[in-house]
């Protein structure tokens, strides 16, 4: 009953990317709607740009037409052949579009185009020798098993962009007006921890950029393998150029490293508990001492970390060494002991194979992203719903609402997670309630 394409996800993706980020809607399928040119044109007339796919034994042969199929219409056709993952192409025409498909109905016929014709009743496709040569196809009539025609729409058309922008505004408003659970603190502290080069500082810059309104690079970012961020930094983000502070602070610390140059594992506890002051210079060999002159002896709830975000580059997360994985798990166990919630953040998702900007709109539906998340769950032990995906700003000057939505959604998830942490605090640890207790005693 269901009418579906026989394209695999990979084939569809290659074709979509090849045509510049299109989305396909199946309109006609020969095995369902009959191998008839008349039926094909019935379904496919006036549908805007379309692509017709012919499935033969070894190849998928395509004909992309920019214009709608209409009576009497002439247009150029881009012909291509997809074999495995390779595409060869040639452009031909203009042709009378109605003659592209042979049909017995003489009213539709204007004679053979001379270049290519698809004979649906015979399930054969005829092409001139120069087309055959250009596409690298065999020199004979090619028989096929199926023909499908799709409407091609831009993945990022005006409607989609408007909706994404709307969603961005909604998320911005949600985050600006966010109040931590029970007003226990004014700002949520989110700690970014992960291997060097994973994109921690880049994420902070991206968040800053969104609220600033243009791309900014205040936090130093580098590809240096030893990691540029050697100081512990707590970044309060302002809303706009001279706006008030937002209800969260992003904390950046030394990256993790397999060797001895990364974050000292003994420092993790002190970072999470809130003993380490802003701008403390980490030492890979030596953890902070309680006698250090800036050590915070009795951190309040507002000084503590409320959510830990493990940051990984989506393209290298599957190649982490055993030592790195052990370190990550060790940090996670420490966070759990401190009762702090945690999420995983995958960056640079737009650099993954076959992923284009249009895919970012519904990134969790993309097959490669799904399998990447499952790999992270399997190897590192994060719950799937705790794994967030973003694309940081790296080389752009201006903001892109599609990226903004990913970043703001991830941030929103972290704030929600922090609410869970605050709600779960033991009563004696909530300063506000302690003060209330004191007041009650005084009243008595």
């Amino acid at each position: 009953m269901a009418v579906t394409t026989r394209l695999t996800w990979l084939q569809e993706k290659i074709l979509q990317n090849y045509l510049g980020g299109k989305q396909f809607s199946l309109l006609y399928k020969a095995s369902v709607h009959k191998f008839s040119g008349q039926n094909l044109l019935q379904k496919c007339c006036h549908q805007g740009p379309t692509i017709a796919l012919i499935y033969s034994e070894d190849n998928v042969i395509g004909a992309y037409v920019q214009e709608s199929y209409q009576k009497g219409k002439n247009a150029s056709i881009i012909l291509f052949a997809l074999k495995e993952t390779e595409i060869s192409e040639c452009k031909k025409g203009p042709y009378v579009l109605f003659s592209l498909f042979y049909d017995t109905n003489s009213e539709l016929q204007c004679g053979y185009n001379g270049g290519i014709q698809i004979h649906l009743p015979r399930k054969e496709i005829y092409m001139d020798s120069d087309i055959v040569n250009d596409l690298g196809l065999p020199q004979k009539p090619i028989s096929f098993q199926e023909c499908e025609v799709f409407r091609c729409e831009d993945l990022l058309d005006q409607r989609r962009i408007a909706e994404v922008t709307n969603l961005k505004m909604t998320l911005l408003s949600t985050i600006r007006t966010y109040k931590p659970y029970g007003d226990l603190v004014q700002q949520i502290r989110i700690l970014l921890v992960g291997p060097s080069g994973a994109g921690k500082s880049s994420f902070i810059n991206s968040v800053k950029s969104i609220f600033r309104g243009h791309v900014t690079h205040q936090v130093l970012v580098g590809s240096d393998t030893t990691g540029i961020s050697k100081k512990y930094r707590t970044y309060s983000i302002k809303d706009g150029k001279d706006g008030s502070s937002l209800p969260f602070i992003l904390c950046d610390c030394l990256g993790l490293s397999e060797e001895d140059e990364g974050l000292c594992m003994e420092d993790i506890f002190y970072v999470i508990k809130g003993h380490i002051p802003d701008r403390y210079q980490f030492n890979s060999m030596k953890p902070i001492s309680s006698s250090h002159h800036n050590f915070i002896d009795a951190p309040l709830l507002k000084d503590r970390i409320h959510c830990v975000a493990f940051v990984f580059d989506a393209n290298s997360v599957e190649h982490l060494s055993g030592e790195m994985i052990a370190k990550i798990k060790s940090v996670r166990r420490e966070a759990i002991k401190c009762g702090v919630v945690h999420v995983a953040l995958l960056t640079h998702v737009d650099c993954m194979d076959l992923i284009t900007k249009g895919d970012l709109i519904d990134i969790y539906r993309c097959v490669p992203v799904k399998s990447k998340l499952e790999a992270v769950q399997r190897e590192l032990g994060f719950a799937l719903s705790n794994i967030l995906v973003v694309s940081n700003y790296t080389s752009e000057w201006e903001l892109d609402p599609v990226k903004d939505v990913l970043i703001l959604s991830a941030l929103n998830q972290m704030l929600r997670a922090a609410d869970d942490f605050l709600e779960d605090l033991p009563p004696e640890e909530t300063d506000a309630k302690s003060e209330q207790g004191i007041m009650k005693c005084e009243v008595k």
Binding site: M1, A2, V3, T4, S25, L26, L27, V32, H33, Q42, K43, C45, H46, Q47, G48, P49, E67, S68, R151, E153, D154, D157, R159, R160, E163, N166, L167, T170, Y181, K329, R332, I336, V341, Y364, Q377, R378, G381, F382, A383, L384, S385, N386, R416, A417, D419, D420, F421, E423, D424, P426
Partner: protein, 452 residues
């Protein structure tokens, strides 16, 4: 030149949710393809399941058809359908749908939907008019005069939907059932008000989904997926503290009338996992929230936070044995032995008990079409029978759920399973409270009088 839908993204998302995460492909658009019934039929026939969407100024009326689009001739097969409406209310979109008992047909160039041989709705494309009966208007919560002129009509193919009427009926009915269960649980009061909150203890092997179940319950009441209890993959139990979780209704809502107690996972080895000697103390209510459990060393009555005289409200009122449904048939004999020892203790304490089977694959088929009862195929599977034999738990109290672990959004079928399981636990607890010895209830009544 490009042919695109005018369906707003929010409405598209609402549609996808209504039908269970489907994809939509635009087939027909009246402003492009023409206003006649022939134009519509030409594009839409033999395309599988479809949705016809009719746009008015402030609302949308639509029809889902499970089978192929009807054809002009009178001999085409009738297509099972339901109608729905979207109404904008500020930032949100309200959705209402009818049951899947409406049939679509083309009669006299009108697309007609009728139920029990009575016309409910007619679409006349050439004049862009829609007729709706009063009862259907009431059902879909619409107010407009009939017939009325619409602005545009679009038809989409629905992809990724399961091809059977039971599934569609279930999908459209599940939200109603979910809301009913939510309201029941919010309004629930323990038997005779003996306690204000029922305490439910989750017990099970490492990785069986105890903490996930708590997160799932909380997610349902919060309205989004949440993770208060730590969850993850690890060979040892992630949970090491005894936790008593209260659940709030919404972000700043009041507490719900139950608490979920989470503890260290069971391990088949002695001296690993939850200490067997700790269990009687947990059941009686002697162990405080956040007590650090130890596999080798049970809590001592001399421990400073040990609750020496727990009252009824401190006790466990219901025990839920949590098991991964995929590993029940492979439980080691030592684990089974541990379960039996625990169960004997539970029986001695006179506590209600259920079994909770997690990680079911085909969660949408656990319940019957009306969501009132479990399916026979669910209750008769070998895992349920094994639990029934192992611990003597009646089949009605062997509950099946799928926790939220992989989604970012709530799913109403999962919600119904989770809420139904929770309701069964509360019912089981009520049975035990009702059966308490008279001296225990008198004691409570006496305490109440002292407080007055």
């Amino acid at each position: 030149m490009a042919v695109t839908t005018r369906l707003a993204w929010k409405k598209e998302k609402a549609l996808q949710k209504l039908l269970g995460n489907v994809s939509l492909s635009l087939l027909y658009k009246s402003k492009v393809h023409g206003d006649s019934i022939e134009d519509m039929v030409q594009k839409c026939t033999h395309q599988g399941s479809t949705i016809t969407v009719i746009y008015f100024y402030r609302y949308v009326i639509g029809a889902f058809m499970l089978g192929h689009y009807p054809e002009l001739d009178n001999y085409s097969e009738e297509s099972k359908s339901f109608l729905f409406s979207f109404r904008e209310n500020g930032d949100t979109i309200e959705t209402t749908s009818s049951d899947l008992n409406i049939v679509a047909k083309i009669i006299n160039r009108e697309l007609t939907f009728y139920s029990h041989y009575k016309d409910m709705c007619s679409v006349f494309p050439s004049t862009k008019t829609l007729k709706l009966t009063s009862s259907l208007k009431l059902l879909l919560k619409l107010r407009f005069s009939s017939p009325s002129t619409y602005d545009e009509c679009e038809v989409f193919r629905v992809e990724g939907i399961k091809d059977n009427p039971g599934y569609i009926r279930r999908i459209t009915g599940v939200t109603q059932r979910r809301n009913m269960l939510l309201n029941d649980l919010r309004a629930y009061k323990p038997c005779a008000d003996l306690v204000s909150k029922i305490r439910i203890l989750l017990l099970g092997p490492v990785g069986s989904g105890k903490s996930s179940f708590f997160n799932s319950v909380k997610s349902v009441f919060q309205g989004h997926v949440t993770h208060q209890a730590i969850v993850g993959s690890d060979s040892a139990s992630i949970t090491e503290q005894y936790r008593i979780y209260s659940v709030k209704d919404g972000k700043d809502g009041k507490s719900l009338p139950f608490m979920l107690c989470d503890s260290m996972g069971l391990d088949e080895r002695e001296g690993a996992g939850l200490c067997m000697c700790d269990i009687p103390h947990i059941l009686k209510g002697c162990v405080p929230d956040r007590y650090q459990l130890s596999p080798q060393k049970p809590i001592s009555p001399k421990h400073p936070t040990f609750i020496t005289s727990p009252s009824l409200k401190d006790k466990i009122h219901c025990v839920a044995y949590v098991l991964d449904i995929n590993s029940i048939n492979n439980l080691s004999s030592k684990m089974v032995e541990k379960f039996k020892r625990i169960h004997k203790e539970v029986l001695n304490c006179g506590i209600a008990y259920v079994a909770l089977l997690t990680k079911v694959n085909n969660y949408s088929e656990v319940l019957e079409e009306d969501f009132l009862n479990m399916n026979r195929s669910a209750t008769s599977q070998s895992q349920v029978m094994n639990v029934n034999k192992m611990l003597g738990i009646p089949v009605t109290n062997i509950l099946i759920v799928e926790n939220y672990a992989s989604e970012w959004e709530l799913e109403p079928v999962k919600d119904v399973l989770i809420l139904s399981a929770l309701r069964q636990m509360l019912r089981a607890a009520d049975d035990v409270l009702e059966d308490l010895p008279v001296e225990e209830t008198d004691e409570i009544a006496a305490k109440i009088q002292l407080c007055m």
